[in-house]
Symmetry: C2
């Protein structure tokens, strides 16, 4: 498998975010008194993969992370990720663009579909 640069050697900020996420997942698991094997089985993966997740491995499938959060009952946090209502900078950019004519291209102002 080829690995994209972002996954192969992530910038520090991304690496940091993943490490923190793994540590948080570990904390949540221990609080619930679950072994890696137990949580892994609930999620549907091996204990080895659970170890990768707690280590914040960048190349691991996103569903392994999200699925783990789901099994821990922490899926709500995921729903908030990049939520349009919270994307202040995006809203500002959109608003600033409104008065002018369309700069170059793109499907104007509407959010997709």
């Amino acid at each position: 498998m080829r690995v994209s640069p972002i996954a192969g050697s992530p910038p520090h900020a991304v690496e940091q975010a993943l490490t923190t996420l793994g540590r948080n997942i570990r904390t949540a698991r221990l609080r619930r008194r679950l072994s890696r094997r137990q949580l892994a089985e609930k999620v549907g993966m091996s204990r080895y993969l659970m170890a990768d997740i707690e280590a914040g491995k960048p190349t691991t499938a996103v569903a392994a992370y999200i699925g783990t959060l789901w099994a821990l009952g922490l899926l709500d946090d995921v729903e908030a990720l990049a939520h349009p209502d919270q994307d202040l900078e995006g809203k500002v950019l959109e608003a600033a663009r409104r008065p002018t004519t369309a700069p170059k291209r793109g499907r104007a102002l509407d959010d997709d579909f």
Copy 2:
């Protein structure tokens, strides 16, 4: 490559969360007037992978998702994922356990190391 069940055929809630995340990323990209190719280059991946992300593909590397959020300036949301201070259920479980003697095993109450 083998694929874990959680990634191969995720439960509906996980699939839903990924689809929503992809759609949110797409919205944020369009608001910033970036093509997939442009954003992909900023992140460090191909436009094909960016398409997978916007589709919410479960087997894609987590760093591709996190890296995209990073490039969009939306990394703050990631830091909040499974944050111990927000994990109410975890805190309750921990507190409820405190009075009793250690149920079976595990390194007691401390958050690791």
